[in-house]
């Protein structure tokens, strides 16, 4: 079973990378760009076949390793 963990900087936390990307896109001539936030996505193949259990496991992984919950928030999706 495939799960996807998306990790983003928490709202209000400075995101230097997102800022720089927004800047660069404007430099390339793209218009109408508002806030840009950059995060990580981790796709995991789990042997677990029960979606609820897979999700719970991935959430545990996110809390313990994948996300730094001091400054990042995460979201788990099961494919």
């Amino acid at each position: 079973m495939k799960v996807k963990v998306t990790v983003m900087p928490k709202t209000g936390v400075l995101d230097p990378q997102g800022k720089a990307i927004g800047h660069a896109l404007e430099g390339l001539g793209f218009a109408g760009i508002g806030e840009v936030r950059a995060g990580k996505v981790i796709e995991l193949e789990l042997t677990e076949t029960d979606p609820a259990k897979a999700k719970a496991a991935a959430e545990e992984m996110a809390r313990r390793l994948l996300a730094n919950t001091v400054i990042e928030s995460f979201r788990v999706e099961v494919a």
Binding site: G12, L14, P16, N68, V70, I71
Partner: protein, 736 residues
């Protein structure tokens, strides 16, 4: 219209939460003649926090020697400034980021580096080197390897990106730091000595200009956090984490240096702890002028920020400056070129007050003089640390003999190779690094285009400081002086970072006072004044204090970089020990690691001998008589020689210990003021030593692949090296 006062009961309650003591709050009421507004209360609480006001430490810091003919600016400015010749000044300072690094190791350490860089380039210097003094807990303590990993990545992540080489530092491990690691960062910069920028504001009506990154809600109350001890609820202090953007810092350095090459700046200061509050209050206060800010003009990253939030935000990579009138457009062009925010956010006034406006409302209106002059100042009660007994080496059995003990020691946490750390720091960017980490007792960085070089080091031996804070303070300064001397540099001045526990406890305040006493004695005797520094108190977790850690950052000068020597041994040389060996085992690493005892009085520093020996060694190095030199510190003589050997793989054969000393005391005693020199012409050296009244003796000869510690005791340098290099990588393997 004066600001709107808080409800009195609410104000009292908040003043408590913000860390103001009841009598301090009463003083606020007296100064204002009314109940403060929220913003005003915020201002008072951060300005009067330990971190900003030095209220517990000031009475002691005043006793440190700060003057010498080469000192241009001592403590009181953003960083210390000394004359290093060729029309140049070295500007340097060390600062702690202990609490933030415990909460979020990567960002805490990274923003620590960012902050100290700003303290230095705000004075007009181009930063040329970074150092870092780190203290970690036992590696098996909860989170500790993650903290080590995060701190090292954070220091590298920031320093590498801004392009300032990280050239040195030190690391200790002790369980006393389990809940409170120390991250002290030091920056050294260079400026023309007649173009130093100060922070005192001047010129009524002159514009107050904000440059750098936008303001967000980061790190609000960071300064007060740095002034409180940790407890189990540290989790809740998390929202104060600040995020660093080294890319913006790099642009800020270039833009500020470009602006500083013009004559537009009246005064400039970085926004460090307590951000806009401390920078505006200090600049206006120092200049004896008033200041009025219109916060609507502050570049903001988030919507709906209040005056209170903007004044207390610790968003990184921001500076405040006073410009000459009419130069705003010219200055703005420079910052726009570097893609940085630039905003005129106020002007200087003749009212002697700080007035903060936001959305048409006056949010704060405080007289500046009492904010400073009535700031709390405490002479807190002190209790002396009881003296430890002087141990006699003859009473301590040697369970291992020299070789096995040596192998154990070079792999122990406090002596093992720090390569795992410095391999993650760019130490060569700039192309001027003559001695990189591991190569010498002090890092040596040449000044671009000149022969001249600076030597720099950080030193402190916290276990000595715990056993005897005065002796420990003295030793820390002496070791820094010795490390600079050992590369051939003339030691000029120090910065310090005083890391201690809760100053409200007499025994902690006693440690502080004694350490300052010891430091002062060494600074005086060695002509090695304090030009800048930082105090970090309340380093405690659940009531348990760290070891007293007065970290010293020393800077010295070499007129010709080519004269610098490293510690790496070459074959075919005599080894000469300079200084007296009495076999002092109290508080030695041998005693701790081999005999399993942490006790006794630490080795005393004889300042007259220290000076005599050091001046002698430096003169010999500058005369070209030493191929290599290493001071004898942690671990004693045999460890010092082993370190020289491991640097190249070249072995050495040492003579048997003198009969009057137990062998383990000779090999591992930590007597101070000693150096090992590798020389070609021993007779000349010994004659010079005799003439100077300096104890010196040939102790062996380099060559081969083994280290021989007297007849019958031998170990291959390769084997020592394997033990030396394995420890940290093995420890950190678990974190990946």
């Amino acid at each position: 219209m004066p600001p709107v006062s808080l409800d009195p009961a609410r104000a009292k309650q908040l003043s408590d939460e913000f860390g103001l003591k009841p009598d301090e709050y009463d003083r606020v009421l007296a100064i204002l003649g009314r109940v403060p507004s929220l913003t005003e209360l915020g201002l008072f609480s951060v300005m009067w926090s330990e971190h900003c006001s030095y209220k517990s430490s000031r009475v002691w810091l005043r006793t440190l020697p700060t003057k010498a003919p080469w000192v241009i600016h001592g403590p009181g400015e953003n960083a210390g400034v000394i004359d290093i010749g060729d029309g140049l000044a070295a500007i340097f300072k060390m600062e702690s980021h202990n609490h933030p690094s415990f909460i979020e190791p990567y960002q805490g350490a990274a923003t620590g580096v960012g902050g100290i860089l700003r303290d230095v380039f705000t004075m007009g210097a181009r930063p040329i080197a970074n150092l870092n003094a780190l203290r970690f807990g036992a590696p098996d303590a909860p989170r500790m390897t993650r903290i080590i990993d995060g701190v090292v990545r954070g220091i590298g992540g920031y320093g590498n990106c801004v392009g300032v080489p990280t050239v040195g530092g030190e690391v200790n491990f002790h369980p006393a730091y389990n809940g409170n690691p120390l991250v002290n960062a030091m920056t050294v910069g260079i400026a023309p000595k007649d173009r130093i920028f100060l922070s005192a504001a001047a010129g009524i009506g002159n514009p107050v200009v904000y440059v750098g990154s936008k303001t967000g809600r980061d790190g609000i109350h960071g300064a007060t956090m740095a002034s409180a001890e940790f407890s189990a609820d540290a989790e809740e202090k998390r929202p104060t984490v600040q995020i660093g953007d080294p890319f913006v810092e790099k642009l800020l350095i270039e833009a500020c240096l470009e602006l500083m090459a013009t004559d537009m700046i009246v005064a400039i200061q970085d926004m460090g702890a307590a951000g806009l509050t401390s920078s505006s209050v200090e600049m206006a206060g120092k200049g004896g002028v008033g200041i009025e800010l219109v916060l609507d003009n502050v570049p903001q990253r988030e919507t709906g920020m209040t005056a209170y939030e903007m004044m207390l935000s610790e968003s990184q990579e921001r500076m405040l400056m006073i410009l000459k009138p009419g130069r705003e457009a010219e200055a703005e062009a420079i910052f726009r070129k570097w893609e940085l925010d630039f905003a005129v956010i106020g002007h200087l006034t003749d009212t002697g007050r700080i007035v903060i406006r936001h959305k048409g409302i006056v949010e704060a209106d405080i007289p500046l003089a009492p904010l400073e002059s009535e700031a709390p100042l405490y002479r807190r009660p002190t209790a002396e640390t009881p003296k430890q007994p002087v141990l006699d080496a003859r009473d301590i059995a040697d369970p291992l003999g020299p070789v096995a003990a040596l192998e154990k020691l070079v792999g122990s946490l406090d002596l093992c190779s720090r390569r795992w750390i410095w391999d993650q720091y760019d130490s060569t960017v700039g192309g001027q690094t003559v001695q990189r980490p591991g190569g010498a007792d002090a890092a040596v960085v040449k000044l671009e285009g000149l022969k001249r070089a600076l030597a720099m080091t950080t030193d402190c031996t916290p276990r000595y400081c715990l056993a005897d804070p005065e002796e420990g303070g003295r030793q820390a300064v002496a070791e820094a002086w010795r490390n600079l001397t050992a590369v051939g540099a003339k030691p000029l001045a120090i910065t310090d970072n005083m890391n201690f526990g809760n100053p409200e406890k007499p025994e902690i305040m006693g440690q502080f006072a004694a350490a300052v006493r010891g430091m002062a004695s060494a600074c005086t005797a060695l002509d090695f004044p304090v030009v800048s520094g930082n105090v970090s108190l309340y380093n405690e977790t659940n009531g348990r204090a760290i070891l007293p850690t007065p970290a010293i950052g020393g800077v010295g000068v070499l007129e010709d970089a080519a004269q610098a020597v490293g510690l790496a041994l070459q074959p075919g040389l005599d080894l000469v020990l300079v200084g007296e060996t009495r076999g002092w085992l109290g508080q030695s690493l041998w005693l701790r690691e081999v005999a399993g005892r942490e006790e006794g009085a630490p080795p005393p520093v004889d300042l007259a001998a220290e000076r005599r020996n050091g001046d002698f060694v430096r003169a010999r190095i500058l005369a070209g008589e030493a191929v290599a030199c290493h001071d004898v510190a942690d671990g004693g003589l045999l460890v010092a020689v082993a370190e020289m050997a491991m640097a190249t793989g070249c072995g050495a054969t040492l003579d048997a210990p003198p009969p009057e000393l137990p062998a383990h005391a000779w090999w591992f005693g930590e007597d101070q003021g000693r150096y090992v020199l590798a020389v070609r012409d021993t007779a000349t050296l010994l004659a010079a030593a005799a003439a100077a009244g300096v104890p010196a003796a040939r102790i062996g000869r380099s060559g081969g692949g083994d280290l021989v510690a007297g007849p019958g005791s031998s170990i291959s340098v390769e084997r020592l090296r394997a033990a030396h290099e394995a420890t940290l990588p093995a420890l950190m393997a678990a974190v990946g």
